[in-house]
């Protein structure tokens, strides 16, 4: 990956593009690339929908190689939802194809002077930026069907739905999967609205004629890859649980622990949890001829995704993830998997973040628009978003905006972004991450990648409150590093438990890149990424008082444990210092 494609959508004669070498961005990939570019080139106080903001689309350092699990794509910008720096991450085919085409990044800059929308087509030989208003307000599914007709079955698409075109702050960016369906989303933070502000509806990527990227040391690479695969497959989480049940296997356990946010974070357990669990979902999928085991990108050996068919055995949506099932399910008091799957389909089609939309609907229920448990009502609210009605525009701008519009006090957001599917009163450490993450409330920014080899957790006393700040900090650092590689975060489980698998990952990277990275180097990369992000946020006006959870988490006890969030503000301030 030796070039960056810059497309200025605001050229005087129309969109202009150029390819440049990496220069200052040499050696960067994924989140390292997006965060570095944004922190250097985007004025932190700019309006997120303005010409000054940029949308950076970056494959990971290992994407496009034969390394397994290396297909994650990072998309970064200043977030319209939070106002902070943002990196949203998606699976699908785009990362590996862009990497094979040689692009370390595509950067969308400027803003069109008119309200035309554009289609960008990239192949081995050309880049074309074409006006195509016939695509206006198409849902992602219809859009991709058109692109398939025009360009064939092997292309991949990065696209926005009507929510992105309408510049809603909950808008996502879709990436097509192996079956060319728009099911993988860079969802959080409204990145889709920025793409919409740039006037870009779809980027079509065709890597025909491009070879897989070659490692510097092919023999060592092959051996490391084999060891890495073996480690992933022998681990109970990555080799068995996730392939069998997907991420939604978490529902029963989180519910049992009393940390399953229910009815807009009022309760910690949902009586209908078993009806919407991953175990139940997998059985239903299989009984309807769908799949409970499916990979979102070529080279995935964990295969945590699946295919969800409707009652008649016809494709409806990809297997809804834990976060989606929670957001549209337990959080809203809904225990109907078919209704949740229908909402997942609508989210993908309209191009919105399922977490943000589920929490938003929960806030709408809190406001009395519809009762908790009203599945049909929830589906209808989502349809308002797709239509862009006044109500839909309120909802489509997220939970904080909806809460303000309806005078709701209890709005579970940090820096404007909705909290994900774990109550911070039950798992206080995740609350530390929600509060302090540079991205707003985010459950993946402090992931369990770290091992004792990274000196994480080994010296922490589980009974001491201050252990959580240190843990959260180190987890955020290591997650940021992994996000730079293009590797799926679910490699975390075998790496956490199996030192030989972590070594295999280091060997894989070193044999491909021709480097001698150690775990310390990985941590340094992560620290650099976080420093850049934190610096951007400070310059954007964020101070320590923004690194806080909503007040009700400290005041309202949560059953069954009768606890509140009791990590002090001083501890939170220490996390990213």
């Amino acid at each position: 990956m030796d070039k960056i494609l810059r497309i200025n959508m605001g050229g005087l004669q129309g969109p202009e593009f150029k390819e440049t070498s990496l220069e200052a961005y040499e050696g960067l990939g994924g989140r390292a690339m997006t965060s570095t570019v944004i922190s250097k080139e985007v004025p932190p106080v700019c309006h997120p929908l303005s010409a000054e903001n940029k949308l950076v689309i970056a494959p990971g350092l290992m994407s496009g190689t034969a390394a397994v699990m290396s297909g994650r794509l990072s998309i970064g910008c200043k977030s319209p939802l939070t106002g902070t720096i943002k990196e949203a991450n998606a699976g699908g085919q785009a990362s590996l194809m862009l990497a094979k085409l040689g692009y370390a990044a595509i950067i969308l800059e400027g803003k069109p002077v008119d309200d035309n929308i554009y289609k960008i087509v990239i192949n081995k030989n050309t880049v074309q930026v074409e006006e195509d208003n016939s695509l206006k307000l198409l849902g992602n599914y219809d859009l991709i069907a058109k692109m398939k007709d025009a360009f064939g079955k092997k292309v991949c698409c990065i696209s926005i739905g009507p929510a992105g075109e309408m510049k809603m702050s909950a808008a996502s960016i879709a990436v097509t999967d192996k079956e060319q369906r728009p099911t993988r989303h860079a969802a959080r933070g409204g990145v889709g609205a920025v793409m919409g502000a740039k006037g870009v509806k779809v980027i079509v990527i065709d890597d025909e004629g491009c070879a897989t990227r070659k490692p510097k040391n092919p023999e060592k690479f092959q051996a490391a890859n084999k060891e890495f695969v073996a480690g992933i497959k022998k681990h109970a989480v990555s080799g068995e649980g996730l392939p069998a049940y997907g991420t939604n296997v978490l529902t029963n356990v989180v519910n049992e622990a009393g940390g399953y946010p229910t009815h807009n974070f009022k309760k910690g357990q949902f009586e209908g949890a078993a009806k919407i669990s991953g175990e139940t979902q997998a059985q239903l999928e299989i009984s309807r001829g769908g799949k409970a085991t499916h990979g979102c990108h070529t080279g995935c050996v964990i295969q945590c995704s699946g295919i969800y068919n409707d009652k008649n055995g016809n494709y409806l949506t990809k297997q809804p993830e834990y976060e989606t099932v929670w957001a549209h399910g337990g959080n809203c008091g809904i225990d109907d998997l078919d209704a949740i799957a229908q909402m997942d389909r609508l989210d993908d089609d309209f191009g919105v973040d399922t977490i943000e939309m589920g929490v938003t609907i929960g806030v709408a229920m809190e406001a009395g628009l519809i009762p908790f448990g009203d599945a049909e009502g929830a589906i209808n609210l989502l349809k308002e978003v797709g239509k862009g009605t006044p109500l839909g525009r309120i909802l489509g701008n997220g939970a904080a905006f909806t809460g303000k519009a309806y005078g709701v006090e209890r709005v579970p957001v940090v820096k404007g972004q909705a909290l994900p599917a774990y109550d911070p009163r039950t798992v206080q450490g995740i609350g530390v991450t929600y509060a302090t993450s540079t991205m707003g409330a985010d459950h993946t920014s402090g992931y369990a990648v770290a091992t004792n080899l990274l000196n994480v957790g080994g010296s922490v006393d589980p009974l001491k409150p201050d252990g959580q700040a240190e843990l959260s900090r180190n987890l955020q650092i290591s997650t940021a590093a992994i996000d730079a590689t293009g590797m799926c975060l679910f490699i975390a489980f075998p790496i956490l438990d199996q030192p030989e698998t972590f070594q295999a990952l280091l060997d894989l990277m070193n044999s491909f890149l021709g480097t001698n990275l150690t775990s310390d180097d990985v941590m340094e990369l992560g620290k650099t990424i976080l420093k850049n992000e934190k610096d951007f946020n400070i310059r954007a006006g964020f101070v320590s008082s923004h690194d806080r959870l909503p007040g009700f988490f400290k005041k309202e006890s949560l059953l069954p444990h009768n606890i509140t969030f009791d990590v002090s503000d001083e501890e939170l301030d220490e996390v990213l210092n």
């Binding site: 069998a244 991420t247 978490l250 622990a257 992931y447 957790g457 080994g458």
Partner: protein, 212 residues
């Protein structure tokens, strides 16, 4: 206390997936450690406990030490394999991330209060993740206490299908006609029955009759 006995032979445990997750009631001798309960009373091997039961909750509290946690009458026990995600890893026994959930972790000092309890008792067991298929059959085969109303619903739903998974049902040792709408109607709605579910081997089924 004696219960009416229901024995179901089924070719798949699918109809019972929901109840294994929601919780099944088992008679136990309380006052033992969790490890003792699993090994001695449920016949689960120590190696399996060590390698497969990575997450356990006792009354919604994650347990780190199965050798010191005490199981009492009326407790709720939930068992799972290793879970994904940061939070999933947090709940694992002896997790290096256990600090994240320190406020809800099971503490031995709570257990010592009435460790001298013995005699007969009942607990509710929930199975999650891969353990549904791995431990579920054994627990169901050894027998569980079950509400008749819930059982009637399961039987009616399954037996109304064109191809039912249930191959035989016995009540107090007497074979029942599977398509009988009034099956179990003699039981009161809030009655507890002793239910055994046996996985049926298909090759032992011939001409519509069970060959034992």
């Amino acid at each position: 206390m004696s219960y009416n006995q229901v024995t179901i032979k089924t070719i798949d445990l699918l109809p019972f997936y929901g109840i294994l997750q929601q919780g099944i009631a088992k008679n136990i001798n309380p006052g033992c450690t969790l490890k003792q309960l699993l090994c001695d009373q449920f016949n689960i091997s120590p190696n399996y406990i060590e390698t497969r039961i990575k997450t356990a909750f006792l009354n919604q509290k994650p347990v780190d030490n199965y050798d010191s946690a005490i199981v009492h009458d009326k407790d709720t026990l939930a068992l799972s394999g290793a879970m994904p995600g940061l939070v999933g890893a947090t709940f694992r026994k002896n997790s290096i991330l256990s600090a994240f959930r320190r406020n809800i972790s099971y503490r031995d000092f709570v257990a010592k209060k009435d460790a001298s309890q013995n005699g007969n008792g009942k607990i509710t067991i929930k199975l999650f993740n891969l353990l549904v298929n791995e431990i579920g059959p054994g627990l169901l085969e050894s027998g569980i206490l079950f509400q008749s109303e819930q059982l009637i619903n399961i039987i009616k739903t399954e037996c109304s299908k064109k191809e039912s998974l249930f191959k035989s049902i016995k009540i107090n040792g007497v074979n029942q006609f599977l398509k009988n709408d009034r099956i179990l109607c003699n039981f009161k709605n809030d009655e507890i029955v002793f239910l055994k579910v046996q996985l049926f081997q298909y090759e032992h089924f011939f001409n519509g009759e069970v060959i034992t």
